[in-house]
Every structure is written in C-alpha cells, then in structure tokens.
Symmetry: C2
Subunit: 337 residues, 2 copies
C-alpha cells in the first residue's frame, strides 16, 4: 500500500478499491459494509427513526483524549442518543488532502472502529474523496447516523415535556474539550494536563432512560457550550432557567486556562456532556444512577426550570449576583469539532 | 444578513442560528427540519432501509447543467434508487470556507431544495462547519440518505440475481458530466455545448421496477464511468460481459472532446446514468418504458452477460476487434463530483 494518499485514492478505480479493502472494510469489518453495495441495506421494525449528520473539521486532528475519528463517531452517536434514540448505524465519509499520511489515516480509522464497537454501533456505508494539496486541511470526516426510537422517547429532543421546577443535570465537568483543543493547538507550554471529554454517551443515556420516565429533555453541549444550549432552549418559552454557578463542575486547570485566555467555561465546547432536564421527583435517582457510570462520576444538579423570567436563562454567581446567559455571539474557537 | 460567510457562522451560536433560519430552514422548508432537534425523527413501517453517504467536492461549484448542490442531492438519491430503494430523507452537511459568498450559498441551497422537491424527498437534518480561508476550497457538501426498500428489491444492489444472457441497458449518453466539468474548469474556449447529465433517477427507476420483475442489478456509473462499474461487477464472478461499442450512445461533441484530450468515454464520470442488468425476456419492454421518460430518450441495450470469458468485461469495437475493460487505474479527473 502507498505511504500517502494519492488523488487516485478518490478516483473510484483500483486505488479507491484498495483503500476501501485495506483500510475501511478491514477495520470497520461488518457484514453490511462488506457487501459494498451503493447503499447499506438495514432491517427495521415498525416505528420511528432518528437521523442525524455532522461534519468534523477539528484542528489538530490528534489531541489529548481523542482524534478526529473518535470525535466523529462520538459526536453523531451523541446526537442520536440525546434525541432518545438507540444509535444503530453510522456512515463515514472522508475528504482527504492529497499527500496525507496513510498511517495516520489508518490510525484514525482504527480509533473510529474501536469507538463504534464500544458503543455497539456499526459503520455500514462510506465514501472517500481526495482533493489536491492545499484544497483542504489534512482530513475532514462526515458521519451520519440512524437510531431507532421508542414512541415514549420521541419528544425528548424537543422541549415540549419541560415543566416548571424540573431540575437541570449535567454529567461532568465543563470546558474540557475546548481547552484541550486550544492547548494542543497553541499553548503546549501550558503544563496542566487537560484532556478532551470526547466520549459516546449512549450507554449512560440508556441507563438513565431505564431508571426514569421523567427525562423531559436532553441535548449535548457541544459548540457554544452549556450557555448556548440553555439559552436556545429557553428562547420564546413560557419558562425561565436559573443555574447555580457553584454547582457547575469545572476542573481547576480548565478554569485557570479559561481565566488566562479570557473564555467563559459555560460557552466552551464539550464532547462528552449531556444536559438533561428531569422531573424534580426523579432528579436524585437519576443523579445516583448517573454517578455509577464512569462518564458521570461528577454528575451534578446545576439548576432548575423556573416560572420567573420567562424566556431567559440566568446564573446565580458564587458571589451572590446574577447574570444572564445568551447564545454565543461570533466565534470563540474555530474548528473545535 | 452578512454578504459572506464568517467563522462565526460555524460557531453554533447566534450567527449559526441565523444562517440555519434564513437560508437552510427557509429553503429546505419541511416540518421535520423545522423542529431543529439534534436529529430528525422519522416514521417507518417494518421492513428494510437503505442508507448511503457521499461527500461532494466538485470543482467548479457551478457548471453547465448543475451545481454542487444539485449534484449532492442527485448523487445520494441515485445511490439509494439503484439499490432498489425509494429515497425518502436526506441530510445535508456543509463545510464552507470563510469569506464564501452568502448569495452563492443561497443559490446552491435553492438548487438543492428544488431538486429534492422534484425527486419527492425531504432534507430533514443538517450541519454547518466554517473553516479559515485557505483551509478548504470554497464549499464541500455531504449528503446522506435513507430510503425504504421492499423485500423483492433487496438484492438489486448486489449481483446475485444476474444470469447468463441478461441484457445490459443504460439510459443515455456517456461522458457528459466529466467532459462538462473538464470544459468548465479548463477549456471554455472549446465551443461545443456540453452539459452535465446530473439528474435524479429515482422516478425513472420506479417506472422500470413497476413494469418488470427482471431487473437483476443496477448501479449508477459515476466516478470511473461505465467501464469501472462493469469491471467491478464482473470481477470474480462466474460470468463475463460483452458490450457492443456501436450500441453505446455518446454525443458527438463529447466524443470529440474525449479524443482531443485523450480520454476514453467509457471511463468518464456520469451523474445521470444508470446501468441495468435485465432478464432477456424483459429487455425490450424495459427499453420502451425507459424511452418514455425524458431522462432516458437515448436508452440502449449495450451488451449482455455471457457464459464465456468469466470474470472479464469485453467490448466489441466498431472496427470488429475486441478489447478488455478494467477498473480505472490512477486518477482521471480529480474533483469530478
């Protein structure tokens, strides 16, 4: 096999064929993909599907806690899982810069395969395009995904079940992904170890959905962070949100780096954080269930749905003040995912 | 709205939100997309799904007969349709270079919406990433698609139904897309009008599947052209293929340009050509049915499945010789789709 990607690997001809066999089919190995038909054929019972897509352009492509491939698998699985669906099938489509290292490509594909396996999902169809040197930056990956969704969970991705006094729960510390990327990109002299939280949340979410039928809303807090999710959620609604800043878990080193760089951790991207809105009677049992999962050891009730200040999301600060959260304006960290 | 794409349009914050509302939701308009949940929720009866993905990096993004958006919609719809599925839902994911014209983006989105509508398919979920100037070339689009597939059509994308004496049919002239792109890119001084054949083939394919249960195989002849499809098809099989060169429809201007540039039209990419393998008793009725559709006025029986020369695809040339077709080696025209 060649050491680096040639334009011919995107031709649809023999080089494409070899790349598919020697890298993609080899590592993503499953009977559906091996058929190599123009589209994957999948069985499904009557009911509803969840369908999502995400393109990943993260820079750098390898970072502490993951790489672009792991991120592409987790990101799409999480989008399905927070909709209340059980993720089942992924597609993987690669846009590769001519000259990209074959060894790095294989490493990324292995990482995707491992993550998909752990999450119980098959990568069943794919595509590869190669562009000339300088026409893309190394490698972009699109993953799209299909999940199956039970009727009782169909409205979890909308906000229609949310009620006043519901509790807001997150499963871990904020800002780890964004600061890990920023550090890897520009500040490697900053010594504190910061790792991306990049992880597939589908098993954690299944555990929670099994223990409670009071999960009224979920979303993963990726680009724009927790603040953007909640301000988007509350916009034009007949309720408000109030968070307690001192309940929001943030690692010391992430907080320090945010302060140094002038970032608000509530706006920094995460790749393994789910925000749940849970009926107040179930909040404690949900919290206890979550904390048994290693992706949610630091799960915390961070606030609640209020009848006051409709359409607004507030934070009670540690020193006793209050500030409003709004959607992220402009761009904080390009190519964070 | 801004005149050009800013990094903030990919931030997940307010600019992303505005772009989604003012361009994507506006033109792709359908109830599922308007929900703007993390993934689209879709109804489905028991049975099988067809799932496919394709990234589009065509250069130039506007060309005679289409643009990258139309191509992205047709390409994925065709991958579903040739699998025997009825295409139902598309995702659309954009990677955009900072500074790209908002007007051009909207034009492309309008073209996608028009094509999807014509094909009877909804674009139900999407994503946008923006990268710095110089980190991608203008605009790349990924479309993934879901179709529903009846049991009787499940093996059309594989080769298992193919029998000796089956006829090979294509719906139109070869090489139009590849030569239109090459001309638009580099040879606009070449005066002959050549248009891409870019089109959604799902309705044509439905008409054929309704008239015949002898459709033994289908594939669209995109990258690598007809020759690559057929040599891939015949590889390691217990049959051969023989084409009659004088039955293969090619426009004079495409043939002329191919000769001038040293291309073999059998290897040039098409974006509106389906190759069908049809039981010999049904070949004529299929041909007549196809020719009633404006995408198949020049449909032709171009060859047949043979018991001879197993595993090989041959062309009988017009001057009475025979040559073998193999998969495309290397790259002919990068960024053709």
């Amino acid at each position: 096999m060649n050491d680096s990607i040639l334009l011919g690997h995107g031709s649809g001809g023999t080089l494409s064929h070899d790349l598919i066999q020697d890298i993609f089919v080899k590592h993503f190995d499953n009977p559906t993909l091996s058929q190599q038909t123009d589209s994957a054929i999948l069985k499904h019972d009557e009911g509803s599907l969840s369908f999502t897509t995400d393109s990943f352009v993260v820079d750098p492509i390898f970072f502490p806690g993951g790489d672009i491939g792991k991120l592409a698998v987790c990101g799409t699985i999480n989008d399905l899982a927070v909709s209340g669906a059980t993720p089942k099938f992924l597609s993987a489509s690669f846009i590769i810069e001519e000259g990209f290292s074959m060894k790095m490509l294989e490493e990324i594909v292995i990482s995707m395969a491992a993550e998909a396996k752990k999450a119980g999902v098959n990568i069943v169809t794919g595509d590869t395009k190669v562009v000339h040197r300088g026409q893309c930056d190394k490698l972009f990956i699109n993953t799209s995904g299909i999940g199956f969704i039970e009727d009782k969970n169909k409205s979890i991705g909308t906000a229609e079940k949310i009620r006043v006094d519901d509790k807001i729960i997150i499963n871990g510390t904020l800002g780890d992904h964004g600061m890990a990327i920023l550090k890897a990109r520009e500040f490697n002299r900053f010594k504190a170890p910061i790792q991306s939280d990049c992880a597939c949340l589908n098993k954690l979410i299944t555990e929670v959905l099994q223990i409670s039928d009071q999960i009224h809303f979920m979303r993963d807090a990726t680009r724009g962070g927790l603040a953007t999710v909640l301000s988007e959620l509350v916009k034009s609604r007949a309720f408000g949100i109030e968070l307690s800043e001192n309940q929001i878990p943030i690692r010391d080193e992430v907080r320090a780096m945010c302060e140094l760089m002038g970032f608000d951790p509530l706006y920094v991207a995460n790749e393994g954080i789910v925000v749940m809105v849970v009926g107040k009677d179930d909040a404690d049992i949900v919290l206890q269930t979550m904390r048994k999962n290693k992706l949610a050891k630091k799960a915390s009730i961070i606030g609640e749905i209020t009848a006051d200040h409709m359409g607004k999301a507030w934070v009670k600060t540690e020193i006793g003040g209050r500030r409003i959260m709004d959607m992220l304006a402009g761009e904080q960290l390009p190519r964070i995912c």
